[in-house]
């Protein structure tokens, strides 16, 4: 994925912010599963999902404009989805002078609805959960510790590396470099090479700093995050209601 990535987290003290991260992670993933499993013909179900997300956004005091802005990431697939009815196979109809495929229209709706809901849910998760907490939640959920540790270091140093890359780009462009086509790729690649060496060497130094302070392969445990039944209950509202809607949708002819 290209383009600038800015952290989505918006600090706050709402109910949603305070929920333990592992609850939120399970809730959002379950919600996404419910959405994806819903038959596309049931428009009302998707309306329900959108309402549910709206309620979460309101509870978390996340403005709609914020979510909308961050959904720009979706754009490439929106374009693809729009193209499907034009190039799709199957029975066709005429609309506004353009021939559209009926299964294609269904497919486009299916993808658009589900992808949009999925992205919105992810945005709400990221907006209300500090990155550090998200990792701790993942650890609680028994994601392999090594993966969590790798992710911790990645997050810690993402900005540092990105910063270095930016400085190299500024240095290049200050000397008149413009990436026009593939022929300029070697210059970018050499920067990438330099960036790799610096990243790797920093990784070595970090490892060394860890060893210097007695690291033997196991990260010492730090914070304890337990979720009460009430926390799980609150978090379960979103996916729970979504599953109810999905089940109703499935059982209808």
């Amino acid at each position: 994925m290209s383009g600038g990535h800015h952290q989505l987290y918006r600090p706050g003290e709402t109910l949603v912010h305070r929920l333990p991260p592992q609850c939120k992670l399970v809730a959002v993933v379950s919600f996404a599963v419910a959405v994806v499993a819903t038959p596309r013909e049931c428009f009302w179900a998707f309306g329900v999902y959108a309402l549910l997300l709206g309620a979460v956004a309101a509870a978390a005091r996340v403005p709609a404009a914020f979510v909308a802005r961050r959904m720009v990431i979706e754009v490439p697939f929106v374009l693809f989805a729009v193209a499907i009815p034009l190039i799709g196979t199957g029975e066709r109809i005429e609309a506004l002078g353009v021939s559209l495929s009926v299964p294609g229209l269904w497919a486009a709706w299916n993808i658009l609805a589900k992808a949009t809901l999925g992205v919105a849910a992810s945005i709400l998760l990221a907006a209300t959960t500090e990155p550090r907490m998200m990792l701790l939640g993942a650890e609680r959920l028994r994601l392999p510790r090594l993966l969590v540790q790798i992710a911790t270091f990645m997050l810690r140093y993402m900005d540092v590396i990105g910063d270095q890359m930016r400085r190299m780009r500024v240095a290049r462009e200050s000397r008149g470099f413009v990436a026009r086509d593939l022929r300029q790729a070697p210059v970018l690649a050499k920067s990438a090479g330099a960036l790799f060496i610096r990243s790797y060497e920093r990784g070595e130094r970090v490892h060394l700093a860890m060893l210097s302070r007695g690291y033997t392969g196991e990260m010492p445990s730090i914070r304890d995050l337990s979720a009460s039944r009430r926390d799980w209950g609150v978090a379960a509202l979103l996916p729970g209601l979504a599953f109810v809607a999905a089940l109703v949708a499935w059982s209808l002819p």
């Binding site: 989505l8 196979t89 992710a151 990645m154 990105g162 300029q184 790729a185 690649a189 330099a194």
Partner: protein
């Protein structure tokens, strides 16, 4: 290539998820062997590097631009197991922290971008460098070819997954051509950038290129006592071991049995056809196990055709593995007893 929610149907998403989880599990152990206790910070920093480098856009054709995927590059620089972990972590972070890529599509995304590109890239790289061991040029050339091939390979697997369970009614051949075509061009860019990156790292810190181990020159130290030659310490060769093969094989078997089998041709196989042609099948009576729970490659009581087939397939694989494993184990024990008796 980040796939959003809803693009693939549930069986494919789940299947890919299982495959991705297993692949990552295998690589967690492999990476520890590659890097030992340095794994967390090193892989983390390399993941940050890949994340940064994926922002390198290069134009491929009028209006379209591609960006580096990085799987092959990572494999050549830090080894295949670590590379898979790094890209997988990048995808997980992108999914959960940046809402980039559907959460239900993580299985597909990790399979395609973390596993397929890395494995294919590494395999191609090793093939090229084995043909010309000890040559720096082979390493750079291998990097180019590996990255070049890895991208369309991922596109091909994407197309296969699309054929299995894509939710859009587009001709698979069109998808194959479009995806393949674009990604061939992206592969060119990726190949070029990968080769030059590896080459530039080789020039300054050859010890950092995993794929170039064994290329280092011997060093000479000039000390007060005269010249002392210091050999480059070769890192212990990573022995892949049998387990990844077993796990990988089991996974492929489950995937094939569980999902692909349903789409297998229902046309009679060679034997049946010949039997039918020669009029032999008229004599075939019903099998005496016709009423067994798994008869007819279906699971009794499960009505959905696809699910029924899939479960039967998985059960079949499971039983075969258990039976085969039992035989293998029994034979090995017997052999060990014999060896011990001789020794």
């Amino acid at each position: 290539m980040h796939v959003p929610d809803g693009f693939f149907d549930v069986p494919v998403s789940v299947g890919a998820g299982v495959f991705a989880a297993a692949g990552v599990a295998v690589c967690l152990r492999g990476a520890r062997r590659e890097l030992d206790d340095r794994t967390a910070p090193m892989a983390g920093l390399v993941a940050a590097f890949i994340f940064a480098v994926q922002m390198l856009n290069f134009p491929v054709a009028a209006g379209t631009s591609g960006h580096l995927l990085g799987g092959a590059l990572a494999a050549i620089l830090v080894g295949p197991y670590t590379a898979v972990l790094c890209v997988a972590v990048v995808l997980l972070v992108q999914g959960f922290f940046f809402a980039d890529g559907g959460l239900t599509a993580l299985g597909v995304n990790i399979s395609l971008m973390a596993i397929v590109t890395t494995v294919v890239g590494w395999a191609v790289f090793r093939t090229v460098t084995r043909a010309a061991p000890g040559s720096r040029r082979a390493v750079v050339a291998g990097s180019f070819v590996a990255a070049l091939v890895s991208v369309p390979a991922a596109a091909l697997v994407f197309t296969a997954l699309f054929w299995l369970g894509g939710t859009a009614p587009i001709e698979v051949s069109s998808v194959a051509v479009a995806m393949g075509g674009v990604h061939l061009l992206i592969g060119l860019g990726e190949g070029l950038i990968t080769a030059v990156t590896v080459s530039s790292v080789l020039a300054v810190r050859p010890d950092l290129v995993y794929g170039a181990r064994g290329l280092a020159r011997r060093l000479v130290l000039r000390t007060a006592d005269g010249e002392v030659e210091v050999g480059e310490q070769e890192p212990a060769p990573v022995r892949a071991g049998l387990r990844p093969v077993l796990v990988g094989g089991a996974l492929v078997a489950v995937l094939l049995a569980g999902f692909v089998s349903f789409y297998a041709s229902s046309a009679p196989d060679g034997l049946e056809k010949v039997a039918a042609d020669k009029g032999l099948s008229a004599n075939a009576g019903p099998h005496h196990l016709e009423d067994a729970p798994l008869a007819g490659y279906g699971v009794k009581g499960v009505d959905d055709q696809r699910l029924s087939n899939g479960l039967a397939g998985v059960a079949g694989v499971g039983l075969t593995v258990v039976a085969g494993g039992a035989v293998f184990y029994a034979v090995r024990r017997r052999r060990r007893h014999q060896d011990r008796a001789i020794a």
